[in-house]
Subunit: 358 residues, 2 copies
């Protein structure tokens, strides 16, 4: 029996529902693979604000650091939208990324054949799309100093943020990019804005330098505006994309939307040691919270990513991924991915058919 | 007879070819509307680097300032890609924007019914799409100080750029956004990243404040990652988008690519006084330069934008736009927009059929 300590962060909106289904799935998987999961729940986001006034209580960070992996559901909601920024749910998310040193964010955008019609793009354009965006997550303009709203000499306000990367910050994420491409189809596209930004020029220089160590990876560079275009024009040209925090935020969302089914997409955030954090790409969907309508599959697939990237249990991860495909193959759909002739199920119902398949 | 002094900046790659066709069209229009265009050519981009070592010679800025409007074709090419940044073609473009104070960049993304099949998106998703992106063009991270590559205390390099906006910079572009929306369908979407960036928080506050002056405009806000998604998910929801320099760069390109025919899209860059600059959205396409294969229509439509926004000749502008539609209706296509059953023409050929229609 292998032991894995998992921190559960249900967060807000549909978070608790989709996480509950996922824990049920993990329990079944644990029995099958003789794994002993120890779950500890902690507060983050709006739920933490309501309970403690702080979107990321120190206690939560402590519990996470004491575990082998963190499974996060979703944070945020209208209720907390007008609080000052340091008290907002998003600040808890940025805090946990920084606090756990999660500098590498892996965001797959994969078209599942069963859901191809959900895409707004033509079938022939998206068929077979399988992109992995490797986004830097603890640097760049999200964390650069100075930042704030300052008064200028003329007495007006000036808002300031700083996009900055050091060589070592670039190197460690570039390395993840190259290694990820190696395990995939061997193509890495680095995205920057080196024709305008100095920070991007340094980025491009370092990535280019590192390419020498990975002769088996084919490296290309795109400016971020062109990358956004190319994702729409011909997404199949991409295998692995590596980019900074802000560009990764934008491009991974655009790539996710190409699939048309963002309720299916997981993500992993990894540091150099300590637990990784695994969460769906979609948000907390406050409008359908508590109605048993949410699609739990992105959360379930995030648990699969956790098993694969965080707990070194690739067989268990595979088993979950196969089960998700099987359930789709059998025609079960939540509302967000429903189409004619399929069987509509709720969040819990989707959990039940998953467990039946397992 | 009204007199208009126009600076022509052919630039690089296909630039000279598409501009030549456009000048022919303008000459015909001039006769029809009794306008006297005085054309002066000047150097920019790679052509200027080759001739003077400087991508934007002082002489060029002087000629532009002395004219009523500037018609730019395209800049850049492989040849100049490895020069130091201050000697690169792009630097000439940034220089002319700053030098002429062109803070407002208007980028339409319109689906033409004749070309709808060129889109990679499904017909029902893009049919009728008509978006105007209003991008701030002389501020934000493109120009913010400090910037550069600095040495840290530990001796490694750190690349730095600054995203900054003052209240007055935000106000003047927000005003263009509201006024543009007023002349269109009355909907303005402001795009920022206010959940993370201080500069975006100030942006959102100022735009929200200004909305009080435009009760007839319906204002909404989106985070940039979500905006990139929504452009793919349902582009018809957008009328006018107003955003900063970097986000505008990315989103206007993504929006342009929704149409599938970027060879058709013009743009206008305007200041508070002095000449505006009008240019196609597409680049210099060095691979087809000189082969008479380029699509001149984005350049021709840029001349129409010049007539409308820069020279206050809306009838002449309309006439050009109608002629472009008529030529497409008759089935003439350059290679980039060619499809079955249509008549393939080259760059010059497209100019000839346009002039016949006029
Ligand atoms: C909620 C927000 C702070 C966050 C980000 O910008 O990183 C989100 O968009 C994401 O991509 O995880
Ligand atoms: C060439 C480059 C400097 C420019 C920009 O980023 O503004 C281009 O992408 C554009 O959008 O006009």
């Amino acid at each position: 029996t292998r032991q894995h300590r998992i921190t559960l962060l249900p967060g807000d909106g549909i978070g608790p529902e989709i996480l509950a289904v996922t824990v049920d799935v993990l329990k079944v998987i644990g029995k099958q693979f003789d794994l002993n999961f120890e779950f500890t729940e902690a507060l983050i986001g709006g739920a933490a604000i309501d309970a403690t006034g702080n979107p990321l209580p120190e206690e939560t960070l402590k519990i996470c650091r004491n575990s082998d992996a963190v499974l996060l559901a979703a944070i945020g909601g209208y209720k907390w939208d007008n609080l000052p920024r340091h008290q907002r749910p998003e600040t808890g998310l940025l805090g946990i990324r920084a606090g756990l040193g999660l500098f590498a964010n892996l965001r797959p955008a994969t078209i599942l054949p069963q859901l191809i019609d959900a895409s707004t793009l033509k079938r022939e354009v998206v068929e077979g799309v399988d992109i992995m965006v490797v986004r830097e997550l603890t640097g760049g303009i999200y964390f650069g100093q100075p930042k704030g709203i300052f008064e200028t000499e003329s007495g007006e306000k000036r808002g300031v943020n700083t996009m900055a990367y050091t060589e070592s910050e670039i190197d460690r994420i570039a390395q993840i990019g190259f290694e990820t491409a190696q395990k995939r189809r061997g193509k890495l596209c680095s995205v920057d804005k080196a024709n305008v930004l100095d920070v991007s020029q340094l980025w491009r220089d370092r990535v280019t330098l590192m390419a020498e160590k990975y002769p088996d990876v084919e490296l290309s560079h795109l400016y971020v505006d062109n990358a956004a275009m190319q994702l729409v024009r011909n997404p199949k040209q991409f295998d692995t994309i590596v980019t900074g925090n802000l560009f990764g935020d934008i491009l991974s969302d655009a790539a996710a939307m190409l699939t048309g089914s963002i309720g299916m997409l997981p993500s992993a955030s990894l540091g150099s040691d300590g637990p990784g954090l695994f969460e769906p790409v979609h948000g907390s969907a406050p409008d359908i919270a508590g109605l048993d309508k949410a699609n739990p599959l992105a959360q379930v697939l995030s648990a699969a990513m956790m098993l694969k990237y965080g707990l070194n249990e690739p067989e268990a991860a595979d088993q979950i991924e196969q089960a998700v495909l099987a359930v789709l193959e059998k025609g079960y759909r939540t509302g967000d991915i429903m189409s004619e002739g399929m069987t509509l199920v709720g969040c819990k119902g989707m959990g039940e058919v998953l467990i039946n398949v397992l």
